[in-house]
């Protein structure tokens, strides 16, 4: 029988809600600048909780190293890509107004995408780092 039933059950119960909350924070920009950052932290911390309870080995099956690395790099790429897109469309770097015909809409879109990039990066970074601390990220 499992000995840490309490932790396990409560974690299972909360986990989907935590992850959804992270995505909610991600997509509701009214949290102000850094919505993506906070979302990333929440998602990452949720995953850390999972790792604490179920062990790194299980967690690694959920998020394999290669996938993590891809998400990490991809996040940065989204962030920089949006900036470069603005640049290619004739504005300066990080000028989102040019992303759409309507400058306001362009700004919104740009910020959403940037935040998405930040969020993914932060989440992936937190998870990778925790794996490192948890101590099974070393080459044998």
């Amino acid at each position: 029988m499992n000995q840490h039933a309490v932790l396990r059950v409560v974690t299972k119960l909360l986990m989907p809600a935590i992850l959804l909350f992270a995505l909610y924070v991600q997509f509701h920009g009214e949290l102000g600048p850094g919505g993506g950052f906070q979302a990333g932290v929440i998602f990452g911390v949720g995953f850390v909780l999972y790792t604490l309870i179920f062990g790194v080995r299980s967690a690694r099956q959920v998020a394999p190293p290669g996938a993590l690395r891809t998400v990490l790099g991809g996040g940065v790429l989204i962030y920089a890509g949006v900036g470069v897109a603005g640049l290619l469309l004739g504005g300066n770097f990080l000028n989102y107004s040019v992303l759409s015909h309507d400058p306001v809409h362009g700004q919104e879109l740009g910020i959403q995408l940037i935040e998405l990039g930040v969020g993914t990066t932060v989440a992936a970074a937190i998870i990778s780092l925790f794996f490192i601390f948890a101590g099974q990220d070393r080459p044998e």
Partner: protein, 117 residues
């Protein structure tokens, strides 16, 4: 500078001292990292207090229409926090690897091992 601002500044100073002391005085690497964290937290507090008291005596840009809606300090704090988190994470992961290779995270013992090499 208004009273709460002063308090914040003193708190920031005190935290800085504590953090700095921990960085210097502790032989335990984890404690050093924690000290570093406290040290950085002091800066956040300092920036927060700065954001609040800016209406006071500080000479600011000529057109003070944007004084209070200025989001800048918050962005700065957030950025600084991100950087701080990254530093802490990296520091701790180094500690983990140091423990793996040296078998200890006490500064003195590590030095002794290195001296014996």
């Amino acid at each position: 500078m208004s009273f709460p601002g002063l308090i914040n500044s003193w708190a920031a100073m005190a935290l800085m001292m504590i953090g700095f002391y921990a960085v210097i005085a502790h032989g335990n690497l984890v404690k050093k990292v924690i000290g570093l964290n406290i040290f950085q937290a002091a800066v956040f507090i300092f920036y927060i207090s700065m954001a609040k008291v800016r209406g006071g005596t500080a000479p600011i840009l000529g057109d003070n229409l944007t004084l209070f809606s200025n989001p800048l300090p918050h962005v700065l704090i957030l950025t600084a926090i991100v950087v701080g988190v990254a530093t802490t994470a990296l520091g701790l992961s180094l500690v983990v690897r140091i423990r793996d290779t040296y078998g200890t995270i006490e500064d003195e013992e590590i030095r002794a091992i290195e001296a014996a090499e």
